[in-house]
């Protein structure tokens, strides 16, 4: 039982972590909290659904394409809608209330667009993962193995990209101080687009990864956003290692809670954890990092 729950918890936690990574990337890069991020998970899941179920493409290629499409979609949304708000006053400073409302509005618009295209019905992404693996006495569908490999691989690539490439270094510079980044000769607006596109692409991967185990549905974004958000806050808002750790904690906590206490209240556990962590450590586990940014 426990092994079973842990594998599920870690897998779902890694999906939350991917979503939280995007939320934190956007927060540290653009100084905004992106409330439409769950809708990019949803769109990613639908892209995956269309690519796998309708176009018959294989799973990894679908993940990759969904990531690219959602990333480009994110770049357009940021350029056309958000930048008007974030660039007011000469910088990408905290755009405050306006940006929060704009994010919620965008979430509703994206949901409605998805509804017009795909309708309200839920679908599962049909991937043939083969026979379940045996761990001891437990049978685990291989979809969890996919989640594990893809998300860990993606995190490793993200880490290497940020640490070892010129663009990665520039992204870190933009996140830390935009004026100085500009004076380094960095094309700051371009980097902002890159950061946003990257975050939305990550969200889409999260969507395609849970597509085979959860239903892909127009309203799925909201719950994922809240979980990702909880993960980001638990880890310390804006901190990337924190986002990963927070995601894992939320995933494991929720799965154990659902398994041992009550499955019908599954979605409450994330918030119990969130409240508990915030009471003990108000800035989250890696809060220092997030704080030194301001």
């Amino acid at each position: 039982m426990l092994v079973d729950f842990l594998v599920v918890g870690v897998s779902i936690g890694l999906v939350y972590a991917i979503v939280a990574l995007g939320i934190s990337l956007i927060y540290s890069g653009l100084d905004i909290v992106h409330f439409a991020h769950g809708e990019f998970v949803m769109f990613g899941a639908f892209f995956g659904l269309v690519l796998v179920n309708d176009s018959g493409l294989n799973y990894p290629i679908s993940i990759f394409l969904a990531m690219i499409f959602a990333g480009l979609m994110g770049v357009v949304v940021e350029r056309v809608f958000y930048r008007r708000l974030t660039s007011k006053g000469g910088g990408y400073t905290v755009a405050g209330m306006g940006m929060i409302i704009c994010g919620f509005g965008m979430a509703i618009i994206l949901q409605n667009i998805a509804f017009l295209i795909w309708g309200a019905e839920g679908h599962a992404i049909n991937v043939d993962f083969g026979t379940p693996m045996k761990i001891g006495t437990v049978n685990l569908p291989k979809s969890y193995l996919w989640i594990l490999c893809v998300s860990v691989g993606l995190m490793a690539i993200l880490h290497l990209f940020l640490k070892n490439t010129k663009a990665g270094l520039a992204i870190r510079a933009v996140a830390a101080n935009k004026d100085i980044a500009y004076l380094m000769g960095i094309n700051v607006p371009l980097m902002i687009s890159l950061i946003f596109g990257l975050a939305c692409g990550l969200a889409a991967v999260g969507g395609v990864l849970i597509g085979p185990i959860n239903y892909v549905q127009v309203e799925m974004g909201y719950l994922i956003l809240i979980k990702g958000f909880a993960a980001a806050v638990v880890g310390g808002f804006g901190s990337l290692p924190g986002a990963i750790l927070g995601g894992l904690m939320v995933g494991i906590f929720e799965t154990l809670g659902a398994g041992y206490i009550s499955g019908s209240h599954k979605d409450i556990y994330a918030f119990l954890l969130l409240i508990a962590v915030l009471v003990i450590m108000p800035t989250g586990l890696f809060g220092q990092l997030a704080k030194s940014k301001a």
Binding site: A170, L183, M184
Partner: protein, 243 residues
């Protein structure tokens, strides 16, 4: 090399610069002096593109650069080192220096230039793997100057390199600036409140007061000028002293 003509700018609706004219000939070092809050940093921000120019013109290397994006101005060869000793405290010393070369693509040359910066400031080599936030004030000043030089600029603008540093450290830093100048021939515009240091480095000086250039002249003359000291100390500037 740099020509500033009638530049006006400010923050929000507040006008700070009220028509500034200033020239920095190629290969020269020019000092911009003035008391607190007189608009020195504001002028540098306007030149480097961080601040929109309301009216007037700025020309660099024969081309207009006012209201171009800061990254384009860096690419053109004009680099600003800000006053706040703004390193990236969360990045290593070497990452900071590499960021300075972001606008360049000549990889081998960048490597050689990094070595050269380490020659100028050996302490940076020693601490290259450490977070920049762990450096002392003087070391951070060396880091941000070195980082500016990593862009291989034709001209560098230094905003108060002596601020908040001990006299001996200031002396050391100005010695290195002089050496960089002698070896690389970089044109320099230095903003300072340390009048003596700045005028020893520069051939020509400007004193800015209340958003306008009040005094200008040869550094060797200015260093003995009462009015310069008054202006620097925030005393009344004698209007007839306008050169």
């Amino acid at each position: 090399m740099l020509k500033v003509r009638g530049v006006e700018t400010g923050y929000g609706r507040l006008k700070i610069l009220r028509g500034v004219d200033l020239d920095v000939p190629e290969g020269s070092a020019v000092a911009l002096l003035g008391g607190n809050g007189t608009g020195k940093s504001t002028l540098l921000k306007a030149i480097s593109g961080l601040l929109r120019v309301w009216s007037g013109e700025i020309e660099f290397d024969g081309k207009p650069i006012h209201n171009r994006k800061p990254n384009e101005i860096v690419k053109a060869g004009l680099v600003q080192v800000t006053q706040g000793k703004d390193s990236y405290p969360g990045l290593t010393v070497e990452e900071n220096l590499k960021l300075g070369a972001h606008s360049r693509n000549d990889r081998d040359k960048i490597k050689a230039d990094l070595e050269q910066i380490y020659e100028f400031f050996p302490i940076l080599r020693e601490r290259r793997k450490q977070m920049a936030g762990l450096l002392s004030g003087g070391q951070i000043q060396m880091l941000v100057i070195g980082r500016g030089m990593m862009a291989a600029p034709k001209m560098i603008m230094l905003d108060e390199p002596s601020a908040a540093l001990a006299p001996l450290v200031v002396l050391d830093i100005f010695r290195q600036i002089n050496k960089i100048r002698a070896e690389l021939g970089t044109t320099i515009l230095v903003v300072e409140q340390n009048v003596r240091m700045a005028l020893l480095l520069a051939e020509y000086g400007y004193v800015i007061h209340d958003g306008r250039i009040h005094i200008e002249g040869k550094a060797s003359d200015m260093i003995h000028d009462e009015n310069v000291r008054n202006a620097y100390l925030g005393g009344t500037v004698v209007e007839t002293a306008n050169a």
